[in-house]
């Protein structure tokens, strides 16, 4: 029997609740674990404290852990959703949020910002954001007219832009020798350590309308799965949908990357994992990717800052270390 409307909504609510619980657990662990181990209850007491009774823990939670966990959640959600959208637009399981060369552009912007000695916010964030928007504009100009709808043309443009940007990045890295090199490498591997609550709130305010817009287009993405020709004859305005999703997703990924650096594999692994469990309906996958991606990066970032004996490693290292083998397992499973 086909699912009826009520079942659709019930399913959506259940998926969201389960993944929200997972996110909440990840969030609690992220808040309570660190060099100063506090326990979940104390961390939450500090988070909701009004009289700043334990001022050290209050400072740690409010100034360090909470903004960082929040940034990890926002970045994870965005990258996971970005991967889902690009996989749908390009009908390619290997698509990820950086496929159109956004990573290259924003990396160049960020490195220039670091080399100029700009502050993290708004300086480097701004140059990185400009860089990624620059690549998006370049891709759109290169794929003008009908070729924007040809996924191969779009994909190849992205690969070429990324390759060109990589050459510039390597050049910039090779001429940098002082401590700024460390900052550049951390940025390239994804760095959530500089999270600051007001900045994360600004980022969230930019992203929430983008998330809502993608959800509105979730059924359009289902129709795209049937191929361009069939989708068009089912009443879908392919050009409007493709362009809107391309611009909205690139914009939200650009905004995120400018705060976090390049965190890889989230956009590849999470949509695949959830598609395997929930099926290909984007009306379920969009909220699932938001919550699932958020939980995944919160946990990966927790490992990134707690696993090393001293200091911490970039979150992107952990997402890749877990993501790559997980992706291979998923591929094997999906073939079965």
């Amino acid at each position: 029997m086909i699912l009826n409307l009520q079942h659709h909504i019930t399913r959506l609510i259940w998926i969201s609740i389960i993944l929200l619980v997972v996110l909440f657990i990840a969030f609690s662990l992220g808040l309570s674990i660190g060099p100063t181990h506090s326990g979940i209850r104390s961390a939450f007491s500090a988070l909701f404290a009004t009289n700043e009774s334990d001022s050290i823990l209050y400072s740690i939670v409010w100034r360090i852990r909470f903004p960082r966990v929040l940034l990890a959640a926002v970045v994870g959600a965005t990258l996971s959703l970005g991967g889902l959208v690009f996989q749908a637009l390009l009908r390619n399981p290997l698509a990820e949020p950086f496929i159109l060369g956004i990573s290259g552009g924003s990396a160049i912007g960020a490195i220039i910002g670091i080399l100029l000695g700009l502050s993290r916010f708004p300086g480097i964030c701004f140059t990185s954001f400009l860089g990624s928007l620059g690549t998006l504009a370049l891709i759109l100009v290169m794929s003008t007219g009908k070729s924007i709808l040809r996924k191969d043309a779009l994909l190849l443009s992205g690969v070429m832009v990324n390759a060109f940007c990589s050459a510039i990045i390597m050049f910039l890295v090779s001429i940098t020798q002082d401590a700024r090199l460390h900052n550049i490498i951390f940025w390239l591997m994804g760095d959530l350590s500089a999270a600051d609550l007001p900045q994360v709130v600004i980022l969230g305010a930019i992203l929430i309308p983008c998330f809502m817009m993608v959800f509105v287009f979730s059924h359009a993405m289902n129709l795209l799965m049937m191929g361009k020709d069939m989708a068009r004859t089912m009443g879908l305005n392919i050009k409007a949908v493709t362009l809107t999703l391309l611009i909205v997703t690139s914009f939200m990924v650009s905004a995120t990357v400018s705060f976090s650096g390049l965190v890889g594999f989230v956009g590849l692994v999470i949509p695949h994992l959830l598609r395997l469990v929930l099926g290909p309906d984007h009306r379920s996958l969009v909220p699932a990717c938001l919550f699932g991606g958020a939980a995944y990066l919160v946990l990966c970032d927790l490992l990134a800052r707690t696993l090393p004996q001293q200091g911490e490693m970039p979150a992107g290292v952990v997402t890749a270390l877990i993501g790559a083998p997980l992706f291979i397992i998923l591929l094997k499973k999906s073939r079965k």
Partner: protein
């Protein structure tokens, strides 16, 4: 009789290469209209123009007595459905999910299915005999089953015209007949006009009310199977040796290709 399609002076070119040259014909409502012709004749281009995938360069197409340009995309999707060559390449949905996607032109933005949508999808699956496959994934089905699912999806649009591009290609004999029987049932029971492209002239002879024979973008012949499928027109179109006789099934032409070794 009213026409489902009226095509007038239609020409189309990819760059400088002319693909269709000044075609004019009409398709009566509730007919099975089959477009035949050799490779490169312009059959797929013609059908893509008829469903609005390609934009008209020269000429005019009227669908159900209204110019194609006057249709909004949604309204067009309610009037006609299209089953292209090949299968969807995206991540596979189940059969019931795929069929239900056909309700999109009648739904709001999130495509949430009403009870009416579900009933129509069930009927479409029953009509095309795929109801028992409802929970299976599309890519786990045989070619014939997949084609029937895609036709069920098209029926969900509740169109007055259905257009299919080589729906029997790469199917075995029994599945070819099953698909063609389905087309005839559509016409007989629902009054749907069927327009299809086919390479199989014998299937076209058995099932087509009218045939359009194309070669190099031009009409070689248009009419009933007996008018179109004769020695002269077929040899002109296909440029090979053929035998045309009367089918043992009745007053229908039967076409046999004569291989070179039998010509000695």
């Amino acid at each position: 009789m009213k026409s489902a399609f009226a095509v007038e002076n239609l020409s189309y070119a990819f760059g400088t290469q002319s693909v269709l040259k000044n075609l004019s014909f009409s398709v009566p409502q509730s007919d099975v209209f089959i477009i035949i012709g050799p490779n490169g004749a312009g059959k797929t281009t013609l059908i893509k123009l008829m469903v609005g995938i390609l934009k008209i360069q020269t000429g005019q197409i009227e669908i159900l007595q209204a110019p194609l340009g006057k249709y909004s995309q949604k309204r067009l999707a309610k009037a006609l459905a299209y089953v292209p060559q090949g299968l969807p390449v995206g991540f596979p949905f189940t059969v019931e999910e795929t069929v239900l996607l056909g309700r999109a032109p009648h739904q709001k933005v999130l495509g949430l299915a009403s009870q009416n949508d579900l009933d129509i999808a069930q009927q479409a699956m029953a009509f095309t005999e795929v109801a028992h496959l409802a929970r299976r994934k599309l890519d786990q089905l045989s070619g014939g089953e997949q084609q029937r699912v895609l036709i069920a999806r098209a029926l969900c649009q509740q169109p007055q015209v259905i257009l299919l591009d080589e729906p029997t290609a790469s199917l075995d004999l029994s599945h070819q007949i099953r698909i063609m029987d389905l087309m005839e049932k559509l016409k007989a029971e629902r009054g749907v006009t069927v327009v299809m492209v086919s390479h199989d002239v014998n299937l076209a002879a058995m099932y087509g009310d009218r045939l359009l024979l194309l070669k190099d973008g031009e009409i070689v012949c248009l009419g009933s199977p007996n008018e179109v499928l004769n020695f002269k027109t077929l040899e002109e179109a296909y440029d090979c040796k053929l035998l045309v006789d009367i089918s043992p099934l009745g007053d229908l032409p039967r076409v046999t290709v004569v291989p070179h070794k039998f010509l000695k």
